[in-house]
Symmetry: C2
Subunit: 517 residues, 2 copies
């Protein structure tokens, strides 16, 4: 069958639930049901503090075939996943479904567990290039990985599509009854937002902490009545690993031009105005856009309503300068953001569901004016790939990409048109992450392509002196510079299923021939 973005999908995928093909960004809305939750209720006097992760595995009844979950706010510094999965493996437990909100290079030890059949399925929504992504690309998992968005994950948990048997929550600060926060302690990683759904819906919940404090832990992000057990460990990770890539404004002149044109587009479209809201990633180009927007806001005495998403130092500065009334934070991208979370009352933790779950009464992405997003590829229908390289190797997951594109009023993709022998515009992207119907503009060093579906936007900016260009012409230009692009050479083996935020299937990832074993 073909879905709404023209992807051919098999009728079924072994090891994956029944396929619902993607049918349009807002086709699944309306009446929805959040699933029931199992809890063990405790008599007064019940102790939750256990002596080890081992004991937690025993007490939670963790066994073959179960789903265990983790959050990723310590990013490339996380040691909770590795410690817990090693303990699970040491007990001889097999066939685990690892539902981590994010996986990073630091999780390399999981590759062996995948090879050994300890882990047979992975579900994630943030994925950094590295050994685990490569192992999945190479088809080492028994069942295909499921790649979700940041809103799709809590949707899946809340709907029951993703049932968690045991959630392990890395807790930078925690008391003996499970009240915990992410903003204090030697391993403070910022708000642990993506773990909120796990704590609410998992059958059993274990807090793993390296900073056990007297009762009650204050402030409290996840409250005691959701936590079954608490385990103290020496270290839950290294917070310096949170900042993985560059989180500085780019100094590259080509990227600075892209940023400048992007800001000009946002401004001429009328979005730099009182009460504006804004999300950028932490890439050098996105931060450069934020920096220009910030200057314009200051110059015109504009106060925006909120900055959203992964929070970085530039947004903290904008909050503290009074340019935003609030920051809505799902994760901290740098140590300055973590400090701000502990300091600024209006730097507010939000759950993944509150952020971007499409199946509730309006998540915050629905209030978002402008989002600046990246791409590994974009096609002439404006479909965007952030999951695989053009060689078919997995190097990411949606994160908030498809969520923000769907919710925002103006979703802009920024990317260099060409890199070495590579052109970012394709006839068809290798993997669709974000449907073109939710993408409004694409800004490159060679011009700005506006999605023809946004005639209103084209009309609004037509006299602004922007270098507007048809996306087909961008493709032709790019190919004239670096040569025609050949699609990835893929096998038929499906190694991952790409879920849209509503749980429908947007695409599948097939194993590249060069990764075939």
């Amino acid at each position: 069958m073909k879905n709404k973005v023209g992807r051919e999908l098999p009728d079924r995928v072994e090891g994956y639930k029944e396929i619902q093909p993607y049918a349009g960004a807002f086709e699944s809305l309306g009446d929805r049901v959040k699933t029931s939750v199992k809890v063990k209720s405790y008599v007064p006097g019940t102790k939750k503090l256990l002596s080890s992760i081992d004991e937690a595995i025993e007490k939670t009844g963790l066994k073959d075939g179960m789903t265990v979950s983790f959050h990723h706010h310590l990013r490339n510094g996380d040691q909770v996943v590795n410690q817990v999965m090693a303990a699970i493996a040491a007990k001889g437990i097999k066939d685990i479904h690892l539902a981590a909100s994010g996986l990073f290079a630091v999780h390399e030890p999981l590759v062996k567990l995948i090879e050994d059949g300890v882990i047979t399925k992975v579900t994630t929504s943030t994925f950094n290039p590295g050994p685990v992504a490569k192992a999945i690309t190479a088809g080492k998992l028994k069942k295909p990985a499921v790649l979700m968005s940041h809103g799709g994950r809590p949707r899946a948990i809340e709907s029951g599509d993703l049932h968690i048997d045991v959630a392990f929550i890395g807790a930078p600060t925690c008391d003996a009854f499970g009240n915990l926060n992410g903003t204090q302690g030697k391993s403070a990683c910022g708000y642990v937002s993506y773990a909120y759904a796990d704590a609410m819906y998992a059958d059993r919940v274990v807090a793993v902490t390296d900073n056990l404090v007297p009762y009650p832990c204050c402030p409290i992000e996840i409250t005691q009545e959701k936590v079954d057990f608490v385990v103290e460990v020496e270290s839950i990770g290294d917070r310096n690993g949170i900042v993985s890539g560059s989180t500085k404004i780019t100094e590259d002149p080509v990227r600075l031009k892209i940023a400048s044109d992007t800001a000009k587009l946002v401004d001429s479209a009328g979005y730099i105005k009182q009460d504006m809201s804004f999300q950028t990633g932490a890439s050098g180009t996105a931060l450069a856009v934020a920096s220009i927007v910030r200057d314009i806001m200051k110059e015109r005495n504009i106060v925006g309503s909120f900055g959203l998403g992964g929070i970085h130092n530039y947004f903290v500065q904008m909050l503290e300068e009074g340019l935003f009334r609030a920051l809505f934070d799902t994760q901290c991208f740098d140590l300055e953001a973590i400090a701000s979370a502990g300091r600024n009352e209006n730097h507010i933790a939000i759950s993944g569901s509150q952020y971007a779950n499409p199946h509730n009464r309006g998540s915050i992405v629905n209030n978002l004016d402008v989002v600046i997003l990246g791409a590994t590829e974009i096609d002439t229908d404006f479909n965007v790939n952030v999951i695989t390289g053009s060689n078919g190797v997995i190097m990411g997951a949606s994160g908030g990409h498809s969520d923000c594109a769907a919710g925002s009023k103006l979703a802009i993709i920024v990317a260099n048109l060409t890199r070495k022998s590579f052109c970012v515009v394709r006839d068809k992207v290798t993997t669709v992450t974000t449907p073109g119907d939710t993408v409004d503009a694409f800004v490159t060093e060679h011009g700005i392509a506006i999605n023809p579906r946004r005639q209103d936007l084209l009309e609004a900016v037509k006299d602004a002196g922007l270098p507007l260009v048809d996306i087909h012409d961008l493709k032709a230009l790019g190919e004239s510079l670096v040569g025609e692009q050949t699609p990835a050479d893929l096998t038929d083996k499906i190694v991952a299923v790409v879920e849209y935020r509503d749980g429908t299937v947007m695409d599948v990832v097939k194993m590249p021939k060069e990764a075939a074993i």
Copy 2:
């Protein structure tokens, strides 16, 4: 059938669910299920702001036979219940189940709606003496009222026992997408904790505000993805009505003696110590106990872990003096507490479920050391009545009474042994609210009775010079002073069912003959 406290219950009560007799305070724990939730999911751009309560009634599809809910943090100043119920009545809607977390004298207009069949059932957990309580006592409701505890109400909502069709949430501050708080605005009433379960589990949720602020409302107590609609009204009530009774330390020498003996009991039992936790109501006697405990803590440089429950100015002072690390707040009892909620980071809002729901992984009452509670009657088995007077007229509901008694390490009842011709100790209380198995001591002006089940407590305080006395002797003494007590003269008509916090039936309230029509 007879339940565990010896109350004879009918096999069934017309208009009430199947009766599960009370079987012991901790007999219903173990595996429990929180029910599924229906939501309407919204496309970006959906507006929530409606023009009137009338429109909200239409948009939510409110109709005959439905359950509507309210919170009671504006207490005797609330105008949300009256406004919404008047609008419902004006539309000709009948047979409404009113599930308000509390009802007060200010809700007198409901009596006519009960008489007219607009309201046919009432469920509540805070009840002040007054017209509505009298109307229910007089059997004017078609179905018996259900009286719950503060922990029992969220348990019932979360388990599905109490399904809410439409929740109306009085919101002292709110934005147009439903982010709201109770601590700001002209009608600031303090945290709206008891509405949290309603917002999470009701089919439709309406925020009613008299302070609509630019997006986003900060801080946020109830978040937008839980709210369907927002209605702006001129006033949600008068916050001066929050302080209904006296919230000052008693000056009555008899009560001061009770308070002093109570503090001495707590101290000699070893509970005034580092990390102690404490709950009192806002009665003059309870506040006098708090005041003495505070002096002892200061004198010994003791830092307690938390003060709990309805928060009053004395607890705020203790927090600000460093005598508690935190206050856990379910409602503010005075304006000073409201101001503190907005000012003190460690004055923390907690949901009713977090406070006292027995069917979760340990609510905060389970961490409570000492609670000081009142009584209208107590029997020689230490069962306590706070629901009816000895004439059978309803004058209260459990509130947190049975919750704290069950969770705390030391639950002390304080009361004058006699008032006029009345003796508080009975062979059998008129209505059981709190089972004697969860009550540890009873302090009167004529001595302290310790529950014989607490031999450890008797042992601990035996040399402290306390005026210890057997509860049977207290009864005999009381009756010798004011004469023998006669039980209320009751009809067979059941006007209310008293649910224990776990949803089992503790007792039924029968219409007194003097209230018979």
